[in-house]
């Protein structure tokens, strides 16, 4: 375990300076963030980047709702042209999935996993930084397409052959392809890193069945990423071969098969759905016990249902293809499999409800959002079961009913879970609580706006409105509910923006009050991360705690007396580590993760525009890899790094 590492050994030798470039020493300001390998800073950067992209994806969503607020009988009645609209909805989906929901999950995983398992950092800190930077490079590259020749217009699912060069000669599809290969590299390296961290770096005594549910769900998520992302990357490389090098994987006139794309995409795409929602499931599995003041109901069922979802998630991909002509036998097999994936998901919902049952429920914002997930996700789960009825799905697929379904799952599910997580862990991350009054407004506006926006889409879909439509006719009967949805989207947008307002307003108030200490354990919570000061000190734990059971902190706070009643023996603040650890060995910052990620820029743009550009990119890439490999193991001379004080003692 990490605390047993003989830190002294590394300091006893003479300072190593093999590297072409010394590691940055005590960087300050922006350089600190650019070179950091601290999982907490990387987690914060993931979150900040995701919120930035959320604004872009949200703006695209509002433009979609603006367009659909009025019917258009002919193109001149429409606000945006079909071409513009197609680009907007493609970017909305792509940005929200790859640049918002996935990185918010990564933000929580990065920040919380080491803290919740009692570790110093992740297993490979520099790779962690690289994962983030290459994600950011990919995300920014994708969004530069708005200005450089047009954003992608093939939908987030990017079906071949509509995305082949014959039907789609402009560079948007190349941007989509290559930018997402980059974010995929980030997800893959991140997954390997976090799996290694969870498997190898848990505090002494934290057996698998003592890991918090969030850690379990993160572990399943990372395994899903590990096996799903490469499939997408393979599909994207095939498409790139088709587009850039005249290959024929999806070219039907040369014997290629467009269904190959669909199979590859959805073998990635369905696990993708679960890897977006499972982190949120993990979050509410921590929030609900904390505010119902009860342990999670049926911990083993929660864990194993999560694992079951992970496995089954790989066996149901073709339910996205029920109308693509698979033949009735395949449809039957996948339909039945899809029905049964509802079982473990239902177990989770019922276990959350049972956790709240008989509890003393504190209805603060975090808990409201967690309850929001339980109720809204249930709607999405039920509509999901109705798609599993494959013959019924022939009416529903590619209509607004599906749009309603997955927004209930991804917005009402994942995003509400993330909001619960923001409100819950904010004091641990930033040292102050978010305002409850703004928070409640935030919740109610979001839940009302959300249901007004996506509730009517169930009706629209069943009344026959297909999705990905830049316009509909005034006689098709879709006008009314589209207008309700567009109105709802405004409320939803305001509600969502309130979380940003809350962050700034609460911070101002906190600073004005002289930055009072929020305490190590402001919620009287259950897990290890509340045993350290807020905000979390750079070195996490002064000494690695020894774990004796599930909800370690809770066990230390309460004791069962002879009558079987629970009585408090200590408060969280009394148990908290003071945060003055000495002799803690921490990984030093490095330039190379950023440099390596930046070397992808010329390669990526080169693959879009001109292969010549890939040559300087490849040189940068090689240089960065050598720099990385030859970098001194640590900066041992840092004189004012208090964490190293006494390291050799």
């Amino acid at each position: 375990m990490s605390e047993n590492l003989p830190a002294a050994e590394t300091t006893s030798g003479s300072p190593v300076s093999l590297g072409a470039w010394a590691r940055p020493r005590n960087p300050k300001g922006i350089l600190d963030w650019l070179t950091t390998v601290d999982h907490k800073k990387i987690g914060i950067m993931y979150g900040a980047a995701a919120l930035f992209f959320l604004i872009i994806g949200g703006a695209a969503a509002l433009l979609i709702r603006l367009q659909l607020a009025v019917p258009a009988d002919s193109p001149e009645d429409a606000i945006f042209s079909g071409d513009t609209y197609n680009r907007i909805f493609t970017m909305h989906g792509t940005v929200m999935i790859f640049l918002v929901v996935m990185p918010i999950g990564a933000a929580f995983a990065n920040y919380l996993i080491p803290l919740m398992i009692g570790a110093r950092d992740v297993a490979f800190p520099r790779i962690n930084a690289f994962s983030f930077w290459v994600f950011l490079v990919g995300g920014i590259m994708l969004n530069t397409s708005w200005f450089l020749g047009g954003s992608p217009n093939g939908g987030w699912f990017n079906y071949a052959p509509n995305t082949g060069v014959t039907f789609n000669p402009d560079v948007g599809i190349d941007y989509w392809n290559i930018a997402l290969i980059l974010t995929g590299i980030g997800s893959l390296t991140g997954a390997i890193n976090l799996i290694t961290t969870i498997l190898n770096m848990r505090a002494p005594g934290m057996t698998f069945m003592r890991m918090p549910v969030f850690i379990w769900m993160s572990l399943v998520t990372q395994f899903l990423l590990l096996f799903a992302i490469p499939v997408l990357t393979v599909a994207q490389v095939l498409l790139m071969m088709d587009r850039t090098f005249d290959a024929n994987f999806f070219n039907t006139t040369m014997g290629g098969d467009p269904l190959l794309w669909q199979h590859l995409f959805w073998i990635f795409g369905h696990p993708e759905v679960y890897l977006m929602i499972l982190p949120a499931f993990g979050i509410v599995s921590e929030v609900i016990p904390a505010f119902a003041r009860k342990p999670i109901f049926g911990y083993p069922f929660m864990v194993f249902s999560g694992i079951a979802i992970g496995f089954m998630g790989f066996g149901v991909w073709a339910h996205h293809m029920f109308v693509s002509g698979l033949g009735p036998l395949s449809v039957t097999a996948f339909a039945v499999a899809t029905m049964f994936i509802a079982v473990p998901t239902g177990v989770k919902v019922l276990n959350w409800v049972a956790t709240m049952w008989g509890g003393k429920i504190i209805l603060n914002t975090a808990m409201l959002f967690a309850i929001g997930l339980v109720t809204q996700f249930t709607v999405g789960g039920l509509s999901g079961v109705s798609h599993a009825f494959a013959s019924s799905d022939t009416q529903q697929t590619d209509t607004y009913y599906i749009v309603a379904h997955f927004h209930y799952v991804l917005f009402g599910g994942a995003l509400f879970g993330f909001m619960a997580g923001f409100y819950f862990w904010w004091p641990k991350i930033f040292g102050y609580k978010l305002s409850e009054s703004i928070g409640k407004a935030n919740f109610w506006l979001m839940v009302i706006g959300f249901n007004l926006t996506f509730g009517p889409m169930h009706v629209l879909g069943l009344q026959g409105m297909p999705r990905r439509m830049d316009s509909y006719s005034s006689v098709q009967g879709f006008t009314f509910w589209n207008q309700v949805a567009s109105f709802g989207s405004l409320i939803l947008a305001i509600g969502t923006l309130l979380v940003l307002h809350n962050a700034f307003a609460s911070h101002r108030k906190w600073v004005a009050a002289g930055r009072p200490n929020v305490g190590a354990d402001p919620w009287d919570a259950r897990t290890l991360e509340w045993m350290i000061q807020s905000p979390a000190p750079t070195h996490n734990f002064d000494t690695t705690p020894t774990v004796t059971g599930l909800d370690e902190l809770w066990r230390r706070k309460f004791n069962k007396d002879e009558d079987g009643n629970w009585e408090r023996v200590a408060s969280g603040d009394e148990l908290a580590q003071p945060g003055n650890g000495k002799g803690v060995h921490l990984p030093a910052p490095s330039y190379w993760p950023l440099a390596l990620a930046l070397s992808m820029v010329p390669i990526a743009y080169g693959l879009v525009y001109s292969l010549w550009l890939t040559i300087p990119g490849a040189i940068m890439l090689m240089a960065s890899m050598f720099g990385w490999a030859l970098e001194p193991a640590d900066d041992l001379d840092a004189p004012d790094d208090h964490h190293l004080e006494g390291a050799s003692a």
């Binding site: 009860k294 069922f301 029905m339 009416q395 830049d470 509909y472």
Partner: protein
């Protein structure tokens, strides 16, 4: 819960109900809850009432139960005592197995009718009944009827035999000269299952007439089978439901069900070649058409054209400079009620909008005659057709520069446009 809250809740509920009712009053031509044929009925019966009701019950139990538990268990800030804990229950194995196994059994039971319906939808019609090939391309649908019963539309080389030689040709471009080719509107007889063979010439499309059946994708390089059947004469609108590029939103279609004897009359007329018009303007229009339009469009004419008039292209001469390699066959253009992928009416007036389901199936056969009668309520939609011919991509998102969709012909004078439109009107 206090008084004002419950009042406001009541208000919201009743306002919501009023909204639902208001929206029900509107016409819903694509409504999946109004099946009009046995296939759509199969799907409707599978879900209604059983599955929807089970789902509604589960929804009410879970969400209602959650809210009840939260309201009952709620502790306000004043009441909250951090040292007082509720009973610390870690779980209940029996209960948890119960709610694992119960939904499993419920879903297992429901999967039987579900699987049965999957196979029911795949059922084929009897030998000798009507088969139609449906071909999707950016952004309209083509239909080919096997009129002469010579074994479908697969006699690609036109030698009267369906054999291996035909199979060498790409199926979606092969054409049996005897067969009827139409666009945008699939005309079918009532009370008969019409089997469809669905293909695509370019990207993936999806054929969907919600009131008659679910949807099935048109995938290039593959032939998919599906079927439609309508109980009553009438018009059933549909929409391409797989994203197919620029003008996906304006790739619509409809199915027009006619009484069997009317359908026979319609089919007989469609099988005839186009007549050369006698009207001067239409004849001039035919000339312009032959010079400008035949590289993409087809009008089938019989025998030799009269002297002095350029012959119109036949199917085998037809080489469209489009990615899809095809533009609508216009042989009987004036018998259709809509064009441009079903977004504009060929006729206007009592016909209603192409996107709604108002159509007198009795009048459908006689649209061109009715339009010539002053007070019939039908008019040929010359203004829209002129706008379309002059600059099609201003009326529907298209990109002729990338070989997608119809180029503009704004070099034609106003008079020439009138001539072309009168020629189109003569094609009945």
């Amino acid at each position: 819960m206090n008084f004002s809250k419950s009042h406001s809740r009541k208000f919201i509920t009743s306002a919501g109900l009023a909204l639902v009712l208001a929206s029900c009053a509107e016409d819903k031509p694509l409504n999946t809850f109004e099946p009009a044929g046995p296939k759509a009925q199969t799907i409707y019966d599978l879900m209604t009432p059983l599955v929807w009701i089970i789902m509604a019950i589960i929804f009410v139990l879970v969400v209602g139960g959650t809210l009840l538990i939260v309201v009952k268990g709620r502790v306000t800030e004043d009441e909250y005592n951090p040292d007082e804990l509720p009973a610390q229950i870690h779980g209940n194995t029996k209960l948890e197995w119960g709610w694992t196994i119960a939904p499993f059994l419920l879903l297992a039971a429901l999967s039987f009718p579900m699987v049965q319906s999957i196979w029911e939808l795949e059922g084929k019609n009897a030998e000798g009944e009507l088969d139609v090939m449906v071909i999707g391309q950016q952004w309209w649908w083509e239909y080919r009827y096997d009129v002469d019963g010579d074994g479908f539309f697969r006699d690609g080389n036109g030698d009267g035999v369906v054999d291996e030689k035909d199979e060498e040709l790409p199926l979606e471009i092969s054409l049996d000269r005897d067969d009827v080719v139409t666009a945008t509107e699939l005309v079918i007889p009532t009370d008969e299952q019409v089997d469809l063979t669905i293909a695509s010439r370019d990207v993936i499309h999806s054929f969907w007439i919600p009131r008659l059946n679910g949807k099935r994708d048109a995938v290039p390089g593959r032939l998919h089978t599906w079927s439609v059947q309508a109980d009553e004469p009438g018009k059933y609108t549909g929409w391409c439901t797989e994203f197919c590029g620029l003008s996906h939103a304006r790739m619509r279609m409809s199915t027009i069900a006619l009484a069997p004897e009317q359908f026979e009359a319609w089919l007989e007329n469609q099988a005839n070649p186009a007549e050369v018009p006698t009207d001067t303007s239409a004849l001039a229009g035919r000339e312009i058409f032959a010079q400008n339009c035949v590289s993409c469009h087809v009008v089938r004419e019989a025998g030799d054209a009269p002297e002095g008039v350029t012959a119109i292209a036949y199917a085998e001469d037809f080489v469209a400079p489009l990615d899809s390699g095809a533009a609508p066959d216009l042989t009987h253009f004036a018998t259709r009620s809509s064009f441009a992928g079903g977004i504009y009416g060929v006729y206007v007036g009592d016909l209603g909008d192409p996107n709604d389901d108002a159509l007198d199936a009795g009048d459908y056969l006689a649209l061109s005659q009715l339009a010539e009668t002053q007070d019939s309520g039908y008019r040929f939609n010359s203004p829209e057709l002129k706008r379309w011919v002059a600059n099609a991509s201003s009326r529907k998102d298209m990109d002729p520069d990338s070989l997608q969709g119809m180029p503009s012909f704004n070099q034609l004078t106003e008079e020439q446009l009138d001539d072309v439109v009168s020629y189109l009107q003569s094609l009945d």
